[in-house]
C-alpha cells in the first residue's frame, strides 16, 4: 500500500517556525545561563567608551540576569542603631539605595541593600552569595540609562564589623556594592550575624 509520506502543506511551515522558535529560545536561555558578555557596540552600555562616570541620577531598577533577579530600587537612609536601613515594600521585589552613597554610575560607590529572606519566605537577594567574579549587575536610573557593573568579589563580614572604609572608598572606576544578610541566625535585634557584600565595578 503506497501513500504520501509528506505532511499536508499547511502544517509544514508552522512546524518549521515552531522548531526555529524553540531553537531561538534555547539559544537565549543557554546564552543567559552561561552569562555571555553583552554587545556594547550594538546596544551601548551606561558608561562612556573609557568607563567614564555617569551623571547623578537616582536608581529605579536592578537586574541580575544570572540569578533571575529583577527588582525596583527605592531610597533608604540610616536606621536609629546606625545601620543602613532596610527597604520597605515587597521584600521579594524591592531593594534600597543608600541615599548617602553615590548614585549608580557616578564616581565613588553606590550602595544597594536588599532582604535575603523574611520570616516566611526567601526574598530578593536570597541567592546573592551565589554571585561570582565576572557576573553582570545592571542598574537602571531615572534618566533611563543603564549602568552595568561586573562583580569583583563576594565576601561575608560580621554585621558589627561592617567594612565602612572599603565600602565607601572613592578610587578609580565607579563601583556598586550590594549588601544583604547571611551567616548564623541569631534572632533578636541583630537577626542574622553577618552581611554578605558584593563588590562590583562599572563595566
Amino acid at each position: 500500500m503506497a501513500y504520501r509520506s509528506s505532511a499536508p502543506r499547511s502544517a509544514v511551515p508552522i512546524g518549521v517556525a515552531l522548531t526555529l522558535v524553540a531553537v531561538f529560545c534555547a539559544g537565549v536561555g543557554l546564552g543567559q545561563l552561561t552569562g555571555l558578555p553583552s554587545l556594547p557596540s550594538l546596544w551601548g552600555t551606561g558608561s562612556g567608551a573609557d568607563g567614564a562616570a555617569l551623571r547623578r541620577s537616582l536608581p529605579t531598577q536592578i537586574s541580575i540576569a544570572s540569578l533571575g533577579v529583577r527588582a525596583s530600587v527605592v531610597e533608604v537612609g540610616q536606621a536609629r542603631d546606625g545601620s543602613i536601613a532596610a527597604p520597605s515594600g515587597d521584600p521579594v521585589a524591592t531593594t534600597g539605595w543608600y541615599r548617602a552613597s553615590s548614585t549608580p554610575g557616578e564616581r565613588g560607590t553606590a550602595v544597594i541593600v536588599g532582604h535575603v529572606d523574611t520570616s516566611e519566605q526567601p526574598a530578593v537577594f536570597h541567592r546573592l552569595r551565589e554571585l561570582r567574579r565576572g557576573k553582570l549587575i545592571e542598574v537602571t536610573r531615572h534618566d533611563r540609562r543603564v549602568a552595568a557593573f561586573t562583580v569583583e568579589s563576594v565576601s561575608t563580614y560580621p554585621k558589627t564589623a561592617f567594612p565602612v572604609d572599603d565600602v565607601f572608598a572613592n578610587a578609580g572606576r565607579p563601583r556598586l556594592v550590594l549588601v544583604t544578610c547571611g551567616g548564623r541566625w541569631l534572632g533578636g535585634d541583630l537577626g542574622y550575624a553577618d552581611n554578605v557584600i558584593v563588590f562590583a565595578t562599572l563595566a
Binding site: R4, L20, G31, L33, L36, W43, G48, I84, P122, T180
Partner: protein, 204 residues
C-alpha cells in the same frame, strides 16, 4: 541531501542568533537608553561635578561642554577656587579638591567658557564620616536559616529557566504538530485506492 543541509544551516543560524542576542534581549529596555550619548548641541552649554555630593577633603571631577571645546574654560566655586578645564575626548575636564575644612552645604560651581557662554551647577558637601553607617543592614527574617529553601515559582521562571521552558514547549508543539499532520495525511491517502496509475512520489 542538500535540503537537509540547508535545514541544518538555518537551525544552526537561529541557535547562533539566540545565543548572540541573549544578553541583548535581557537588556531590551536599554535599547532606548543606549541612544542617549551625552552629545551636547552647540546651544547646550553645561557643567557638571562628579560626584555631585562629596565629603570635604575629597577630589571631584568637573566636566563641561562649551559647544566649541577647543579654547578651554575656567570653573570657579567657593568650594575650590579657580580651576582650568582642559579638552578631554569631546569635553572639557579637570579635577578639583574640596578643601578638608569646607563646611557642609550647597556650593555654586560656575563655568566660564573662553568663547563666551557660561553655566552653573551646584555641588553638595557633606561631612560623611559622622554620617557613615556603623553597621550593616538588618535585611533578614530567618526563613532560610530555619531550613526554608527555594524561591517562588515566578522568581524561578525569570531569567534563563523561563527561556528554556519556552524552548521546550515550542519544540513539543512542533513535534506534536508534525506527528498529527503525518498521521492525518497517512489516514487520508489510505482511503485512496492503492493501484493509482499516476501515484505521486514523495519528495524528501
Amino acid at each position: 541531501m542538500r535540503s537537509w543541509r540547508n535545514l541544518l544551516g538555518i537551525v544552526g543560524l537561529f541557535l547562533l542568533l539566540g545565543l548572540t542576542l541573549a544578553p541583548g534581549i535581557a537588556q531590551a529596555a536599554r535599547a532606548q537608553a543606549a541612544s542617549g550619548v551625552q552629545a551636547a548641541s552647540a546651544q547646550n552649554v553645561w557643567v557638571e561635578v562628579n560626584p555631585s555630593t562629596v565629603t570635604a577633603g575629597r577630589h571631584v571631577v568637573v566636566r563641561a561642554d562649551c559647544g566649541d571645546n577647543s579654547t578651554g574654560a575656567t570653573v570657579t566655586s567657593p568650594a575650590f577656587g579657580p580651576v582650568v578645564l582642559k579638552p578631554l575626548d569631546t569635553y572639557l575636564q579637570a579635577e578639583a579638591l574640596v578643601g578638608a575644612s569646607t563646611r557642609e552645604g550647597g556650593y555654586d560651581v560656575r563655568l566660564a567658557c573662553r568663547n563666551g557662554p557660561t553655566a552653573t551647577t551646584t555641588m553638595w558637601v557633606v561631612n560623611r564620616p559622622e554620617q557613615r553607617p556603623t553597621m550593616g543592614p538588618h535585611t533578614g527574617g530567618g526563613f532560610l536559616a530555619k531550613g526554608g529553601t527555594g524561591g517562588r515559582l515566578a522568581h524561578r521562571l525569570s531569567g534563563p529557566t523561563g527561556w528554556l521552558v519556552g524552548a521546550g514547549m515550542a519544540l513539543t508543539a512542533a513535534i506534536a504538530l508534525g506527528l498529527v499532520s503525518t498521521r492525518r495525511a497517512a489516514r487520508a491517502t489510505r482511503a485512496v485506492r492503492p493501484e493509482r496509475p499516476d501515484r505521486r512520489r514523495s519528495v524528501t
